[in-house]
């Protein structure tokens, strides 16, 4: 996988993970172009598209779009399920995850992703094992603060 982007229906980037070296400028351009392309697509359309020399796999969960760019030989369907497993991990961790959880706890979203995918490849696909790793870190931590109203992704 070359990169993963999470963005809202309004086109706001919520999370970006790059697995190939790109300059800040290139990253911004890619995000802008891709967000625009995907938001322009209609709901029933296919989840895959060719974009430049990459394959884009995306799926919408409630207000958030999850979008992965994979290479030519990569499997589209399994990438779609990578997205789903990540959403499940977020959901399990936050307890009915919503977009605001990801905004206010963006660092957690990154930590969970790092446990699941590393260098663009699946590191651990077992939900239990990923969450175990994350929760070890949370043992010493304090209370989460509720400042927002929740709309669940799943």
């Amino acid at each position: 996988m070359q990169f993963m982007l999470l963005f809202s229906r309004q086109g706001k980037l919520r999370l970006q993970k790059w697995y190939v070296p790109l300059s800040d400028k290139e990253r911004k351009k890619i995000s802008r172009d891709l967000v625009q392309t995907i938001l322009a697509r209609k709901p029933k359309m296919c989840s895959f598209l060719e974009w430049r020399d990459l394959k884009i796999v995306y799926k919408r969960y409630a207000s958030l779009y999850f979008c992965c760019a994979v290479e030519d030989q990569d499997n589209e369907l399994i990438t779609l399920e990578i997205i789903h497993r990540y959403v499940e991990l977020l959901d399990k961790y936050f307890g009915s995850v919503c977009e605001l959880d990801i905004i206010f706890n963006f660092e957690k979203a990154y930590f969970i992703l790092d446990e699941f995918l590393l260098g663009g490849e699946a590191q651990e696909t077992s939900k239990k094992n990923v969450l175990k790793a994350i929760e070890q870190a949370d043992l010493l931590q304090e209370v989460r603060i509720f400042l927002y109203h929740q709309i669940h992704l799943l």
């Binding site: 589209e76 590191q123 010493l140």
Partner: protein, 968 residues
């Protein structure tokens, strides 16, 4: 799960994020951010030492601001400090900041690497994982240098925790991708491969990505992985859905690992060991069988995971391309998906079938789905799916269904999305050519193509139809008739006019017997389109007219009338004016015989790779044809054009006139035959006169004052180049045609045309005496390093040149890379027993490979400014010997090959040009500015180039400009 265990309670961060979200405008947001940045800066700079928590909070805020899209230029040091904290959460935030905002400050990198080193040796698995994640996220060369030798040890050590092994494997993969030279598996290879046997599924899942990547690069060293992968796959495939516990995903056992195993096997040929192969075939059959079983869940995740494995298995089956049974089963399975209600599956089935179509075993099976695919092309609502359908139709096309597929694609073109039209046009053109059984069908198809999607028909397509019509005399009459009919349409595309002009100019006589298409009717039809056409098309039409004068003498008066009118003969476009003047003169002066020779029917084009295929190859867009298809159609293309030797690919060069800077399409190649092609010496020189009067740059014959070649030593070795060779060369910097050399015995005329990095040069050796030249040989050589820069090919000439006769030699030139020397032409012959030996420089200069580039003033100066390095710029001030006449200078600059840009320079006195030099190895953009100083008669040339490295010869050709602009 109770929510209270979450979060680390950075209340300040939550409040800040909340504030940002409440900002009503971008300005308010920026204001709030700047306030926060000032606050953080003062905290970091303050005297009071910050505790770990505050540091973490501020670093996290900076990270948030950066992720919002703002620049962050401080805080790195604080983040690095966090790395050495004992508190996990502080360390974690430090690593996250470093991973996202990596900075190449070397002092910082040293500190980061130190912290990582400490964590890696801490033996605390969570710390080790954090450090490994950071290396994998950054993946820089510095990190590879520091850790590439350490990580394999961690990966295979017996006492390493599973989670650390997983991180280590993928960390190593990332380093291998960035710095393969630094990651040496060596002694670890076998232990890494054996990770495929690890008990922990997570370890196998992570390790296999590394193994796959390493296998692609070093298949031999890793080939033991094949049998391990097969047995692992077999265990997974045969396991019940509950056996693998948490690695079962929606009732599918280990889908990610299964896909990765199948992917790894695609790095290798089918296993040689019969038992292993048998086991693998069994696995593949099981996967295909499972696809037929009823689903264990209605959830899309279940079917996606299951089908992901199925598609990967089909990829492997296609990769092996050796099991007809499996290939046909795969094809049937995909056939079912073609009508599935899930768009995703239809898309993937179309895509996967494309590759199946190229296998001899499954090609026929794929073809049975033609109706479904045609239906998909017509009814799919998503353009990306329709694109796949079009690709598949292209892939499954063969002689048996070509007519149907081409017809469907043509009808789809009428409504096709703009984004895919050009590619569709190329595909239709290729299929029509590849599978043409009768050429009338081919001609019809291409003309339909132009009618339906004229704007998307590139030059390559209509050049190709002309090449084929010229080469096949059985289709010429039909082509003339069809194009004549097509031109009757009140509005027809300019490309149609081009094809029409060319074909009627060549073969109009074949339909002239019919009074409905008599010569004058043909002419009037063509001329009725003239005024609506662009300059290159008009130029082509003028050439068609002069051909008409030869074909049909009865049209001469009418056509001369047209040529004579002011809008032609005084046309502001120099190319059109020149043609009108030359053709008018030619038609009035030359005798019928001369005219017939000069305007003879075009000779067949040399056989070569289809220019359209070359174009599609270049596009390499979605669904680009595979190499094998290309080869195939090359073969078939050969058949279609009646074979012949497949010479150097001169692309469409011959079909386009490069003698003028505007890429006008002079397909007639008039000038190649006009000046010297006519055999009688007297007529030849008469024609030279005609052209030298007419042309804006009159070629002056270079007469060697030494008379007989007394200066050349009578030796068999090639003589050194003539002392004036350089001057002769410089005459041709800005022009392509003229007399290269002349003395009392011999005249050498030259005509050349260039396109992209290819060129063709015609040399005409005229014997001016009445005695024959014997042992006439010519040798072209590229001395020194020119040999690797320029490729010049030619065939030997006839050894005898009769008195008064002229022989022709064609050189094919390919520019491989930048060059500064000229190739040498050595000519030896015996005249009355005495050996004549003479060496000239051939006027091939780097600027011949210029492609003019149009750009706006804005673009021009933006690029100009970007070229600030000394080696990207050259400046020259030189004195003009002649008056600096605007038109002459313009012609000169155009002759150089660049585009002359109007309204770019704020000073209207200056000339601004742009072009791209095309060589095989690279393309070099070049900008040029000429600032005449009328008082001082001085000109000033600047030429920055858009290249990142030194490109030496541009300044050289600029000085060609100087002596030459003096000559005019």
């Amino acid at each position: 799960m109770p929510a209270v265990s979450k979060g680390d309670g950075m209340r300040g961060l939550a409040v800040f994020i909340s504030d940002i979200r409440n900002c009503k405008s971008k300005e308010a947001e920026i204001k709030r951010i700047n306030k926060e940045l000032a606050n953080i800066r003062s905290k970091f700079k303050g005297d009071k030492a910050l505790d770990g928590y505050s540091k973490k909070k501020y670093v996290c805020k900076l990270l948030f601001i950066f992720l919002l899209g703002h620049d962050i230029d401080f805080g790195h040091m604080e983040a690095v400090n966090l790395l050495s904290s004992n508190k996990y959460t502080e360390k974690q935030i430090g690593y996250l900041f470093i991973s996202v905002l990596v900075n190449s400050n070397s002092e910082l990198i040293r500190l980061i690497n130190n912290a990582i080193k400490n964590d890696l040796s801490s033996r605390n698995p969570t710390f080790m994982c954090l450090a490994l994640h950071c290396i994998a996220n950054v993946g820089s060369r510095e990190m590879a240098e520091a850790f590439a030798s350490e990580i394999p040890r961690i990966l295979v050590a017996g006492d390493t925790m599973d989670s650390v092994k997983q991180s280590a494997a993928l960390c190593l993969l990332r380093l291998y991708k960035t710095s393969p030279d630094l990651v040496l598996m060596g002694e670890w290879t076998s232990r890494v491969v054996h990770l495929l046997n690890d008990q922990h599924m997570g370890v196998v899942t992570a390790a296999i990505s590394l193994i796959t990547c390493l296998s692609q690069k070093n298949p031999d060293e890793f080939k033991t992985c094949v049998s391990l992968a097969v047995s692992r796959l077999s265990r997974i495939v045969s396991s019940a859905s509950t056996d693998l516990q948490d690695y079962t995903y929606y009732f599918v056992p280990a889908p990610w690992l299964s896909c990765k195993l199948l992917r790894l096997l695609q790095c290798y040929p089918p296993p040689e060991d019969g038992a292993v192969k048998g086991r693998l075939v069994e696995c593949l059959e099981t996967i295909l069988n499972k696809a037929q079983e009823p689903p264990k869940s209605k959830k899309v995740q279940h079917s996606n995971a299951k089908n992901a494995i199925l598609f990967e298995a089909i990829s492997l089956i296609i990769h092996y391309d050796s099991e007809p049974n499996l290939l046909v089963r795969a094809c049937n399975q995909l056939g079912q998906f073609l009508q599935h209600r899930e768009t995703n599956l239809r898309y993937l089935a179309l895509e996967s079938m494309c590759t199946l179509a190229s296998s001899e075993f499954s090609h026929e099976a794929v073809k049975t789905h033609i109706e479904t695919v045609i239906n998909a092309l017509k009814t799919e609502r998503d353009v990306s799916v329709r694109q796949r359908a079009a690709d598949l139709l292209y892939a499954m096309c063969d002689r048996s269904n070509a007519k149907q597929i081409v017809a469907e694609m043509l009808s789809y073109l009428e409504t096709a999305d703009y984004s895919i039209r050009e590619e569709m046009v190329l595909k239709v053109a290729i299929l029509a050519e590849k599978y043409a059984v009768d050429y009338s069908w081919y001609v019809d198809t291409i003309l339909n193509l132009i009618r339906i999607a004229g704007d998307y028909v590139s030059e390559e397509v209509w050049y190709r139809v002309i090449q084929i019509v010229i080469n096949r005399d059985d289709v010429q009459g039909y082509a003339a008739k069809t194009v004549f009919e097509a031109l009757q349409a009140p509005a027809c595309h300019e490309n149609m006019v081009k094809v029409g002009g060319y074909i009627l100019g060549e073969f109009g006589n074949l339909i002239a017997g019919d009074p409905r298409s008599s010569p004058l009717v043909q002419f009037n039809l063509l001329h009725s389109k003239f005024h609506l056409c662009s300059v290159p098309t008009r130029a082509l039409l003028l050439s068609a007219y002069i051909k008409f004068i030869n074909l049909f003498p009865e049209t001469k008066a009418t056509i001369q009338e047209v040529l004579r009118c002011d809008s032609q003969i005084r046309n502001s476009d120099v190319e059109l004016q020149q043609r009108a003047v030359e053709y008018l003169k030619l038609s009035s002066i030359a005798s019928t015989d001369v005219l017939a020779t000069v305007l003879e029917e075009m000779p067949p084009f040399p056989e070569r790779e289809s220019s359209i295929l070359a174009k599609l190859k270049k596009k390499k867009g979605p669904g680009a044809v595979s190499v094998t298809e290309l080869e195939d159609s090359k073969r078939e293309g050969g058949e279609l054009n009646g074979g012949g030797d497949r010479g150097q690919d001169t692309a469409t060069m011959a079909a386009s006139n490069a003698s003028t800077p505007s890429p006008s399409a002079d397909l007639l190649g008039i000038r190649s035959t006009a000046p010297l092609g006519a055999a009688p010496a007297s007529a030849g020189s008469l024609l030279v006169d005609v052209f030298s009067e007419a042309g804006p740059t009159a070629p002056s014959a270079a007469v060697n004052d030494d008379g007989f070649l007394s200066s050349a030593p009578p030796s068999e070795d090639p003589a050194p180049p003539l002392s004036e060779a350089d001057d002769l060369l410089n005459k041709f910097v800005c022009k392509n045609n003229g007399v290269l050399f002349e003395n009392q015995l011999l005249q050498i005329g030259i005509k050349s045309e260039y396109r992209q990095n290819l060129g063709r040069m015609y040399l005409f050796y005229g014997n001016k005496t009445s005695v024959q030249f014997a042992s006439f040989t010519t040798t072209v050589s590229c001395p020194g390093e020119l040999q690797s820069q320029l490729n010049v090919q030619t065939k030997p000439v006839e050894p005898l040149v009769e008195g008064g006769a002229q022989i022709q030699q064609v050189l094919n030139i390919e520019c491989l890379t930048d060059f500064s020397d000229a190739p040498l032409l050595n000519i030896k012959f015996r005249y009355g027993g005495a050996l004549q030996n003479l060496t000239l420089k051939l006027p091939v200069t780097i600027n011949k490979f210029f492609q003019p580039t149009e750009m706006t003033s804005h673009d021009f100066f933006q690029r100009w400014k970007q070229l600030s390095q000394p080696q990207q710029e050259a400046q020259k001030i030189f004195k003009a010997n002649n008056s600096m006449d605007t038109e002459v200078l313009k012609a000169k600059l155009l002759g150089l090959g660049t585009a002359l840009l109007d309204n770019v320079d704020p000073n209207p006195e200056n000339y601004v040009c742009a072009g791209v030099i095309q060589t095989k190895s690279q393309q070099v953009g070049c900008l040029l500015r000429l600032e005449p100083n009328a008082q001082a008669q001085v000109q000033h040339t600047d030429s920055p180039e858009r290249v990142s490295h030194n490109y030496s010869s541009i300044p050289n050709f600029l000085h060609y400009l100087s002596p030459y602009s003096v000559n005019i």
